[in-house]
Amino acid sequence: MICAGTMPTSLEAVALTAIGFCVGTAGSFFGVGGAFLVTPALNILGFPMVCAIGTDLAHMTGKSVIATLRHRKLGHVDWHAGGLLLFGTLPGVKLGTVAVMALERAGLTESVLRYVYILLLGVVGTLILRESLSSRNDAEPDGTRALLRRRFRLRPFVSLKTSGIESISVWGVILLGLATGFLSSFLGVGGGFIRMPAMIYLLGMPTRVAVGTDLLEVLFSGGYGAFLYAREGRVDVIAALVMLFGAAVGSQLGAMATKYVEAGRIRLYLAVAVLGSGAAVAAKQFGATALSAGILLILGPSLAGVIIYKLVVGVKRQRAALERVIESDLA
């Protein structure tokens, strides 16, 4: 398959729908775009790299609309925080692009970017893993000790009710958006894997609200990226639509699962996903391309499987609890 907008064969359509479903489920559960899974998978299907990124961004736009709306219903989206973050994210993306261009002129792009990416994913993944293993499953990290709430006291301040934050510097939130926007553009990834933990540990947001709010950011950053790639003719619209069919189901299920999985478990699974994708990038850096693709192809469906399993168990338990209440009322 090439980036020509031709109709996919039946087998390709099944593969695209499956990719959309897995990434929709995992992305909506973690609050990330899932570019780390989609781009290599599309590449394996025969998409050139640039077209794989463009097609992923286009489907991500539709998928994040679905996931954000579902999280909104669950009360997991902090619109004020999302809006403030965007003020930093968009200039951050631009600054990241400028830095990449400078590295490219120096001929250092590939090696520097990949090592920074591996290091960042390794450190972030290890820190989340350590924290989530040491805390209770239903416990949230102490938000009042979050770095940007405690140390960054520059006026004006804002109250983020949905996140349960009484007072935080507007500049602190914008700065976080700027830094994560820069990193996402600099490293060529959606940035959700960095932004979502940053919202939890640096802003002190509850895990589920960080997931929903990050998806709002993904909607805008994905839409902006899709626009840029589509303008260059690097989007396979039909493939993106086919993926969106799978993602429409997956992202609803992933978002619903956040209601039944303890916050600590969400962070634990996130740590596994971050470390897994870091291992895949490291394998690629050292020439083991097949191993890298294998890790990602196992990681995506496994995460989706665990999330769906947790959702089914949660729904069954809640139904049983409701039935018990009804029975006791009747008795």
């Binding site: 899709a226 589509a230 619209v237 969106l244 429409a248 609803q252 209601k259 139904r319």
Partner: protein, 51 residues
């Protein structure tokens, strides 16, 4: 030059159509799947609680 300008506008319009089209499709598909999940008894109310 006018031809080049036309090409530029056309590709930008196409890009806007892709983004708006994807977002709208997402909205429609999301609503359809939401109704379907309700029908299957997995979601009920505005809070997303199962029935």
């Amino acid at each position: 030059m006018p031809h080049r300008l036309l090409l530029e506008i056309s590709s930008s319009n196409f890009a806007i159509m892709v983004v708006v089209g994807m977002a709208t499709t997402g909205l429609v598909l999301g609503t359809v799947v939401d109704r379907l999940l309700c029908w299957l008894g997995m979601v009920v109310d505005a809070k997303g609680d199962p029935r």
